[in-house]
Symmetry: C2
Subunit: 348 residues, 2 copies
DNA sequence: CTGAAAGCGCTTACAG
DNA sequence: CTGAAAGCGCTTACAG
């Protein structure tokens, strides 16, 4: 015996929905949907009616319903180490402007340099059904990339560019960039080097940088002594204390290569305090070209990276990969630019 | 005449879904859902079975399905002017860490100081069904707040705290903070003031700052001459050129109040170039306490704002508002801290 | 504690 | 060009 289907009461969201727009415009729900998503398939007149009804009711389409039916969310995800560094903030800024222009919203995740946290963030994004993901660097648990591939979510690895990477990369070649920095210092006659770097763990970019330094020096028959290669937190304070440590020795390097501008600026500030001046007493280089680096005296020789551009290119590549299904994003190499400034000069 | 219901073929996402977990665990879909969302309502044994099945199948729940059924997305939105400023990046960073800890992901939108773009971002977020929104400042089109209220989406206004605001605010009192800066300079004997500020349009925070300066000076029977109140882009370059302009006059101010650290640092750099030194020749103040400001020589007198804390408090308040329906977030006032450093001293 | 099934708000294959 | 209706993958009111 079959009775009436039981009427379950579930409180809807109480918000205007597509069906009400359809009623008001005197069309089917299919037509309302098409009017917005495939306007060319709807007659001019009906389209107008639908738009007016939607506007009058102030209808905002429910993305969950749409996502469920269409299996597209119009959400992209970005995972970066931290926003507390202007270089990543700039990348996100560039990405967000492009995504926003194409109707995509951006989910943001920070790993704080913890690979497990990065994996958690990626999983959370996959659960949200992101259409694509951008992630800084390739130093992540293999499960992360497996999860992306098995779900066919297009992704790009940003910031670092690595010709031999299994992943589509959008960024610059850290190794080559630091070879170029060494090149510059060698050409100025420097033969005695020191290095101050941020931590290498879980950070393929920084390891590539240091390797670039070591390899280029080796090509010139040179090397950095172990006690002249200091590694620690990416802070001005570490730059300052490392500088003091290195220059306090009787046998001083003439050139100091820093892993980034922040460290180099810390070193320069300490130098002033102890009466040393670049480029007279020593040369020093940074990396990033922070806004302050070209204003600070002495102005800092450093490598300029267009991080906004990396973000924009990454977003563009992902949008294309989303549009053409099964299209793996093309790698893009961004060329850094050596900014030669006051902090480097001829070796004494 | 009724026939068999037509079988429509729609390609699903091809991903593992809850139903398959239910099958494997030999339970109903309802039980799988409960095992994850209301574990106490499921027996220990069944729960185990469900978890194992889910794990074995590597099931990631589809957020769109969940959102549609539960009318909750576990997504929060944040709208800020720009990420290219470390103060907002810090706020987002604090917010994201708290949200992430509670299983929420963060949608990010930047208005680039354009009210219409802010409104667009807010609408996009509402369409995504965000459970709550944080938005910097209260200088937004009324439609924005109306949209939030009519959809009962809890929100907070961040960064600025304003006792008389119709919105729940989480931030600090810009007006009072700048009165305090003036107070400090007055106590050092300064009577002749200049000001260099970022643009006031669509920016309630900056207007409040300048009003704080003007009002406190008025209380002391003082005022800033019009040609000593310069307003322009929030860049070091503008700080530098404004400084030159102001100090090039025969009648110089003894104290310069800047709208933020960036502007003040630009001014200090230019000062050095023309052989002027703070606090001997003039005093200068910033606002924000950027990382560089305490290292730069002379160290900069400025107001420290804990932007990470603002972000964390905003996220916490929103999570509470989401949990207790119809609970309007409580306003929170963050106290800024005046950092008196080398750049301010007794008036000549 | 557990299950059968309606319902969340859209899109889209199918039929006309 | 348009509509009737199935289906997207979950949650939850109801019944037991």
């Amino acid at each position: 015996m079959e009775g009436e289907p039981i009427r379950r009461t579930r409180n809807g969201s109480g918000r205007v929905k597509l069906q009400e727009v359809a009623q008001k415009a005197n069309v089917s729900t299919a037509t309302v949907s098409r009017a917005f998503n495939e306007p060319s398939k709807v007659s001019e007149e009906v389209r107008q009616r639908v738009f007016e009804a939607a506007h009058a009711l102030n209808w905002i389409p429910n993305a969950a319903g749409r996502a469920l039916a269409s299996r597209k969310t119009q959400i992209a995800g970005a995972i970066i180490p931290t926003l507390d560094n202007e270089i990543f903030a700039n990348q996100i800024s560039g990405m967000q402007s492009v995504f926003s222009k194409h109707g995509f919203t951006l989910l943001l995740g920070c790993s704080n340099y913890d690979p497990q946290e990065g994996l958690r963030q990626a999983r959370a994004m996959l659960a949200r059904g992101v259409d694509a993901i951008a992630i800084v660097g390739e130093d992540h648990p293999p499960e992360l990339f497996e999860a992306l591939r098995s779900r066919h979510v297009p992704y790009v690895v940003t910031y670092a560019f690595n010709r031999t990477s299994p992943h589509p990369c959008i960024g610059f070649d850290n190794y080559a960039a630091f070879r170029e920095i060494v090149e510059h210092l060698l050409s100025l006659g420097h033969r005695s080097f020191g290095a101050i770097f941020q931590p290498l763990d879980n950070n393929d970019r920084v390891r590539a940088r240091l390797k670039g330094v070591v390899d280029r020096l080796k090509d010139a028959g040179l090397a950095i002594a172990e006690d002249r290669c200091l590694i620690g937190p990416s802070t001005m304070d570490f730059g300052a204390s490392s500088f003091l440590h290195m220059m306090g020795q009787t046998d001083r390097p003439t050139a100091i290569i820093c892993g980034n501008d922040n460290i180099a600026l810390g070193a320069l500030l300490r130098a002033k305090e102890i009466g040393l001046d670049a480029p007279t007493d020593f040369s020093i280089t940074g990396f990033d070209n922070l806004a302050i680096s070209s204003r600070f005296r002495p102005t800092l020789t450093t490598m300029m990276i267009d991080n906004q551009e990396i973000g924009r290119r990454a977003a563009t590549a992902l949008l294309q990969a989303i549009a053409e299904r099964n299209h793996v994003p093309d790698p893009v190499e961004i060329k850094p630019e050596l900014k030669i400034r006051q902090s480097t000069g001829p070796a004494p």
